[in-house]
């Protein structure tokens, strides 16, 4: 029986706590009697027979949707859209949920005799996936059946001929999505709901949308009114997506949503110590920790990065639901909460976030300084429901080497954002006002996004907006162990050790501050009361 999440009050006999630090980790001793560590619930048991569960979900859909076989007929246009490489994190050991679901859907489509089937990777403004990434996501059988015929596509938000403008919501938001999807008789959307932010109407309304449409909710105002974006009922990001999703539905586009959830078993056996409570580390865990840290110290960063990025998570599917978008997503959200919620009492003055080597936007890539900010202040800070784990005016301490390094193929516009925009200002409003349009319309970025494997020119702005709620909420941000020049460019304070950082934090929040340490990954969601 997996144990629920747990909040440890740190006392003098508490061992040092594992803190992620990019491609590595440290054991940090926290001040006794005023610190707490928030541990994720243990992984729930996976489904015994995922394929049978998928089959059942397709035949017994949620909401007012007929079963999938009833929606399929010969001669129809069917589009299967699926989540991109940003999910799940780390990538899961095969077979991926998407492969299982897509194969089941295609099995039914084959029985119904559907000829016109196209698969679209719903990557919005993310980078295009590589062949090996696509093969991992959809499986070799699907890839080899569709890709050679040009039927396995990646969404192109800048294709002048590939988009359809469906209308404007009552709040004036343009809804423009992939033309092939819009003109299909049925869109089947296959998702992996890793965190509560994913899924629902966001799948189609964001994943298959254009920049023109996305900018209505990917902006500073929306993000500052999403508290947090992990809680769809208090998230302007989701309200906007829901308005768009309903407009898409009312425009007559049929979406059959299939959502899957995972447990949070993020690391394979040899690295199990990464998700264990430190005082329960046995001899093997300690040996694994010591061996890994010793090896990492001797490994060049690039090699360490490729080792970490080759790690595949032993995630297991915990649930699958299909049918009408909102009904499906209600069930999915509940399942995500069941795995991830940890009740936490009250806020603290300081929050410590160990930033790991991966975030949704650097799979097989470098976690550049902008992504460090996004991971720390965008994702980890927002892993809350109710209120943030750190109080208004408090301090966030991130732990990450934060090298001044970028992947020029994946993140070309990030480099310019870092060199030009952040050198000028770190204020999200100012950045949005002064720079966004030029980056969004830059021909070169557009070219790289469409033809290479680059994130869209505007994507670094979204990273910055993702953290804008935290920037507004916090009194200071300190990065432990980061490249000082890069950290200062981000507008944050560099510190060498956690002890230094805590002393610096005391300048902002007063002496002997209370401290929360989010022991993440594995992913959790702090339910702060």
């Amino acid at each position: 029986m997996p144990r629920p999440g747990f909040v440890l009050d740190v006392d003098r006999s508490t061992p040092p706590i594992l803190t992620w630090h990019g491609e590595g980790f440290r054991l940090e001793r926290l001040p006794a009697d005023r610190s707490r560590v928030i541990y994720a619930p243990e992984p729930l048991a996976g489904l015994d027979d995922p394929d049978a569960a998928i089959w059942e979900a397709l035949h017994q859909p949620r909401g007012d949707s007929p079963p999938l076989p009833d929606l399929l007929r010969a001669g129809m246009r069917l589009t299967i859209a699926f989540d991109d490489v940003s999910l799940p994190l780390p990538p899961m050991q095969g077979p991926d949920n998407r492969q299982r679901v897509i194969e089941a859907v295609l099995e039914l489509a084959a029985r119904a005799g559907v000829d016109d089937v196209v698969l679209i990777c719903a990557l919005a403004l993310h980078r295009r996936m590589t062949e090996s990434e696509l093969r991992h996501a959809v499986g070799d059988r699907v890839y080899d059946s569709f890709a050679p015929h040009g039927l396995l596509l990646q969404h192109d938000a800048e294709d002048p001929d590939g988009l359809t403008h469906l209308g404007v919501t009552d709040r004036g938001e343009d809804v423009e999505i992939n033309r092939r999807a819009a003109e299909s008789d049925l869109i089947v959307y296959v998702n992996i709901n890793l965190v509560a932010m994913d899924g629902g109407h966001k799948s189609v309304a964001t994943g298959l949308a254009s920049y023109r449409s996305l900018r209505h909710h990917h902006n500073v105002r929306t993000m500052r009114h999403s508290r947090s974006f992990m809680d769809q009922h208090n998230s302007e990001l989701h309200s906007s997506n829901w308005r768009m999703g309903r407009l898409i539905r009312d425009a007559g586009i049929k979406v059959f949503q299939i959502e899957t959830t995972l447990n949070n078993d993020a690391f394979p056996k040899p690295m199990a110590f990464l998700q264990k409570r430190e005082w329960e580390w046995d001899l093997r865990d300690r040996a694994a920790y010591l061996a890994t840290s010793a090896a990492l110290r001797r490994t060049p960063p690039a090699a360490a990065r490729s080792i970490f990025h080759s790690v595949k998570a032993p995630y297991e599917m915990t649930g699958v639901w299909a049918g009408e978008v909102e009904a499906v997503h209600a069930a999915t959200t509940e399942a995500v909460y069941a795995q991830q919620l940890v009740p936490v009492e009250g806020q603290s003055d300081v929050a410590i976030f160990g930033v790991p080597y991966i975030c949704p936007y650097n799979v097989n890539s470098i976690m550049n300084p902008i992504l460090v900010m996004c991971m720390g202040l965008g994702y980890l800070f927002n892993l809350y429901r109710g209120k943030p784990i750190v109080r208004q005016g408090g301090v966030a301490i991130l732990s990450h080497p934060t090298p001044w390094a970028f992947n020029p193929v994946h993140h070309p516009s990030y480099i310019d954002f870092f060199e030009e925009v952040l050198a000028d200002t770190t204020d999200p409003i100012e950045i949005e006002k002064t720079y966004e349009e030029r980056f969004a319309n830059d021909e070169w970025y557009r070219h790289l996004y469409r033809t290479s494997h680059a994130y869209h020119g505007v994507h670094p702005f979204y990273m910055w907006y993702w953290g804008s709620h935290a920037l507004e909420h916090l009194g200071d941000v300190i990065i432990v162990g980061g490249d000082p020049a890069a950290v200062r460019r981000l507008g944050f304070s560099p510190a060498t050790t956690l002890a230094d950082a805590l002393e610096m934090a005391a300048d902002t929040v007063g002496p002997s501050p209370t401290i929360s340490h989010l022991h993440c990954p594995p992913i959790m969601l702090a339910d702060v009361r």
Binding site: P412, I415, D416, E419, E420, D442, E443, W444, H447
Partner: protein, 397 residues
């Protein structure tokens, strides 16, 4: 007379070369430069004057000499032993305060009739640097017969002297020569066509060129300046740079401004019409070739020395690569002399603040080390203070 002298000593040159490989400016300690008590230079001719230097700057070419990193090119056009120092503000015996235009052309050498270049007023291009009644030497400060600024006395021909306005401080006047250099380079290039200029390097020359662009080049609307050190960035912003970027960021900055593509090997599809390279290193020349637009011009203000660089873009894009050396009448400014323009520019742009520190001759090793690492140590120009009295040693601004 006390003077810093460069002697021809193979062992000292070798030692300087080795030491400066380890740390720039280390040649000041072990190299060919030494403080000596020498006889003042004799007056080469009746019209010549004796000068008593007040301040004498340390220039990049001086550092190259002291560190034994100068090009072999200079071998026949310098004479040993010489007293370096060509950025000089000095007093004449008749009580005038002057700056020295160090070029030793036909008029100074007593050659009559002058060579075609000197006849045209372009003494810096003189054909007879090795002839006449002076020993070979391209400038004051590289010639055995005339002395140099790093001493308490030198001789100069009246044609070399430019009077300093009374209102101008010595500390500003010592910058006239280097600012004239930068200014000349900034005025030398053609109109960029696209209104965009790139200045690579923000030492004294780079900043002077930037100030000159801001003041004298209305055809240039935007200037991207590559500055390595914070102090240089601050000056660059103050002197009118549109964008200031770090080393290694220039290609992206130019791409952002011109809207082209940056290809995999680092070349741009578009670029700037005029590029001023005020560094002269292989990397800076490669950057210049990468960011110059097809048909653009690169002006080399920095002394390049031996350089390995891929010139294919020069050919494929019809880029003009030109040097800009010294000073003279500036055609684009109605023939006004670079020195006069420099005096005006120093005053108007407040370039006097570029002088960061002064040293006595006795502390020359420290001075050389400071100058060699000026940017990193928050300085721009370092000079020797030769004025007698309590104002002297180690004064910093």
């Amino acid at each position: 007379m006390r003077a810093l002298q460069v002697e021809r000593s193979v062992t000292r040159f070798a030692a300087a070369r080795a030491a400066s490989g380890w740390r720039p400016g280390a040649g000041g300690k072990v190299g060919p430069l030494r403080l000596a008590e020498i006889d003042p230079p004799e007056l080469p001719g009746p019209e010549w004057l004796r000068l008593r230097p007040r301040l004498a700057g340390i220039c990049g070419s001086d550092l190259a000499t002291v560190d034994a990193r100068s090009s072999q090119w200079f071998e026949p056009i310098v004479t040993f032993p010489f007293v370096p120092g060509h950025e000089v503000v000095a007093d004449t015996d008749d009580g005038r305060r002057v700056v020295v235009e160090p070029v030793l052309g036909c008029a100074v050498r007593g050659i009559d009739p002058p060579c075609p270049a000197c006849a045209a007023g372009q003494a810096r291009r003189c054909h007879r640097l090795t002839a006449g009644h002076l020993a070979p030497g391209l400038q004051t400060g590289f010639c055995a017969d005339v002395g140099g600024g790093w001493s308490t006395g030198l001789v100069a021909h009246p044609a070399q002297l430019h009077e300093v306005p009374d209102a101008m401080a010595d500390e500003a006047a010592v910058l006239v020569e280097p600012v004239a250099c930068g200014l000349h380079g900034a005025l030398a290039g053609p109109a960029p066509g696209d209104g965009l200029a790139v200045v690579i390097g923000a030492g004294t020359i780079g900043l002077a060129a930037l100030a000159a662009i801001t003041r004298f080049r209305p055809d240039i609307e935007r200037t991207i300046v590559v500055a390595k050190h914070p102090v240089q960035r601050d000056h660059a912003r103050r002197l009118g740079a549109t964008t200031v970027v770090g080393a290694g960021e220039v290609r992206r900055a130019v791409r952002r401004t011109t809207g082209g593509w940056l290809l995999d090997n680092g070349q741009l599809t578009a670029g700037a019409g005029l590029v001023l390279d005020c560094v002269g290193s292989p990397a800076s020349i490669a950057d210049a070739l990468a960011v110059a637009r097809p048909g653009g011009t690169i002006t080399l203000l920095g002394m390049p020395g031996h350089t390995t660089v891929d010139l294919t873009p020069l050919w494929q894009r019809e880029i003009a690569l030109a040097g800009a050396y010294a000073y003279g009448p500036e055609p684009s400014q109605q023939g006004r002399h670079s020195f006069d323009l420099a005096i005006e520019l120093i005053d108007a742009a407040g370039l006097g603040s570029l002088l960061s520190a002064t040293y006595t001759l006795e502390r020359h090793a420290e001075a050389i080390a400071h100058a060699a690492e000026a940017g990193r140590r928050g300085a721009v120009k370092v000079a020797f203070d030769l004025r007698p009295g309590p104002r002297g040693p180690g004064r910093r601004r």
